[in-house]
């Protein structure tokens, strides 16, 4: 429920100014300018920092988190895929992505699903353009809002790659990204966050992108993992992570960066951001410990990868709930979600035998679904949440479920189409020899470690 973006206001100012200059004396121009909200420097600075924190989550946070989990021979391919996907998502975002997600409304009946093309190439946006926040008459520079949202598009695309590492062509991923962004990410971002979006109108709660980013990316990763097929030697050869040290470094960067992701989604430096901040601490802490506890209960040692996975599960869980829960609710949500994710990746996935290589679905998909549904529960004032006194939990659960199911269906279908296009253009998978040799040498001509 992030950027209640008021397009009318942004357009109204230059239009009114032009009119005033043509028809009215200078005094009237000054008066018009005085009633237009001016961005607060504190809000602006916080949103700039938040934007960079989200970038830090991807480069190098997710690169190291994912990179450490693959075999030595594929380390660079993972880092390059994530880096290039991020660059591509950024360019897509300013060329047409922002317009389709947050631009002025598209004509009916498309309004709930996508915005129009009026902001193609960021047309009409300048340093003085502003974006609305959740508080009346509080605005931030529109360029900052565009950058903030741009990093969300980039990280969502990057998470999808976690399902299909170590076997898909670099070129296939670039084609996939070009199709997947407009077909899947942009409509879902619009539905959840734009004022005219389907889920926004329904009143779905998604503070920082549990649906848009995590369920969406997790489901897309699962679909892609099934379509791309298993890695050679899956469940036979050892595919142990090549450096859990790097994975844990990445985990730390993800957690720190996530404060930009969650607390930044308040769009202001205020109490709502503070609530999101404390929740992003405690839900994550609960998630980390809960995963370790689950490992003990199921007869294993409390592991380093378990700690990292629990931390990320907690972060995913608290994403939709960040500003929609009290701290105690967030602890419950983080802990329960981590246990659910543990069961998904350690018990269910090995039996189903699909190769979601880095558990993008098991953690982001399952964690996102748990978080989205759980948010309807922890939002209740009786559980310390910020919901209204007359909060109707069952009605909200229905809305959340509808948003979750729509996202799953949309992401599944769109991902299938994007994969079909990528397969037709590039063939999708590398050759058997290239996969055995490793994508670093076969696809990029380099080795990660020349020791």
């Amino acid at each position: 429920m992030k950027p209640r973006f008021d397009v009318a206001r942004r357009i109204a100012f230059p239009a009114a100014l032009t009119l005033a200059m043509a028809l009215l004396p200078a005094a009237a121009i000054a008066q018009e300018a005085a009633t237009t909200p001016v961005p607060n420097k504190g809000d602006t600075a916080w949103m700039m920092v938040s934007t960079l924190l989200v970038l830090l989550m991807i480069l190098p946070g997710l690169q190291l988190f994912y990179g450490g989990l693959v075999r030595t021979k594929n380390m660079l391919s993972v880092m390059t895929q994530i880096g290039a996907a991020t660059c591509l998502a950024m360019l897509i975002w300013v060329i047409f992505g922002y317009s389709l997600a947050f631009g002025p409304d598209a004509p009916a009946p498309f309004t709930p699903f996508i915005a129009g093309l009026d902001r193609l190439f960021l047309a009409g946006i300048g340093p003085d353009s502003t974006a609305a926040t959740f508080t009346k008459d509080v605005v931030i520079p529109e360029f900052v809002f565009i950058c903030f949202q741009m990093t969300f598009a980039a990280i969502t695309l990057s998470i999808v790659l976690g399902g299909i590492v170590e076997r898909v062509k670099f070129s296939a991923l670039m084609v996939f990204a070009l199709v997947w962004m407009p077909l899947v990410y942009l409509p879902i971002a619009h539905m959840v966050w734009a004022a005219s979006g389907l889920f926004f109108v329904m009143g779905a709660l998604d503070f920082a992108g549990g649906t848009v980013v995590h369920i969406n990316a997790g489901v897309a990763a699962l679909v892609a993992a099934i379509i791309a097929g298993k890695r050679l030697g899956y469940m036979k050869d050892s595919m142990a992570p090549h450096s859990l040290t790097l994975t844990l470094v990445g985990t730390g960067l993800l957690w720190v960066g996530w404060f930009g992701f969650n607390a930044g989604s308040a769009l202001e430096a205020n109490g709502s951001a503070a609530l999101a901040m404390i929740n992003t601490f405690v839900a994550t802490a609960a998630g980390g410990l809960a995963w370790l506890a689950a490992e003990r209960v199921f007869g294993h040692k409390p592991s380093a990868l378990g700690l990292a996975s629990g931390i990320v599960s907690g972060l995913v869980a608290v994403t939709p709930a960040a500003g929609n829960s009290g701290p105690m609710g967030a602890i419950l949500l983080g802990a329960i979600t981590a246990v659910a994710c543990y069961i998904a990746v350690a018990i269910i996935r090995p039996r189903l035998r699909y190769d979601d290589s880095l558990d993008a679905f098991g953690i982001h998909g399952v964690g996102g679904i748990m978080g989205a549904i759980g948010t309807a529960i922890v939002y209740a004032p009786s559980l310390g949440g910020p919901g209204p006194a007359d909060y109707d939990m069952m009605a909200k659960l229905g809305v959340q479920l509808a948003a979750v199911c729509t996202t799953i269906a949309w992401s599944t279908i769109g991902t299938l189409v994007a994969l079909a296009v990528a397969k037709a253009v590039t063939g999708l998978r590398v050759t058997t020899e290239a996969e055995r040799e490793g994508l670093d040498l076969a696809e990029h001509g380099e080795r990660a470690y020349n020791l």
Partner: protein, 112 residues
């Protein structure tokens, strides 16, 4: 001359090296190797994916000593590397025919 080859647990390296110093053995070659004996490997678990590691990391120590020192040095290594659990390793003693010190050209016992 005898070649003493000892396969030991990596974390016993310091103790073994000290024991060799106490025996006045000055030359030592150490390699990182992998293998298994009766221990038959270890199990690793990553998010529920269990990998049986058949070949366990070990250190291989090689020293060459004069014939009369061989037994004493082998026993010193065995004492230093001993923990009492499976996977402690093995020591092999074999005959060496000829040795050369490259810098000086000295041969056999004087080369050690």
């Amino acid at each position: 001359m005898k070649l003493i080859t000892a396969i030991i647990k990596p974390f016993r390296m310091d103790q073994v090296r000290e024991a060799l110093m106490a025996c006045s053995v000055q030359g030592i070659t150490v390699s990182e190797v992998r293998g298994h004996g009766k221990q038959l490997g270890q199990t690793e678990v990553y998010r529920g994916a269990e990998y049986h590691l058949n070949l366990v990391p070990k250190l291989k120590i090689e020293v060459v000593v004069e014939d009369q020192d061989a037994l004493r040095v082998a026993e010193a290594i065995a004492a230093a590397a001993h923990t009492g659990s499976t996977g402690d390793g093995k020591i092999f003693v074999s005959h060496i025919g000829h040795a050369v010190r490259i810098r000086t050209g000295e041969v056999d016992e004087t080369a050690l």
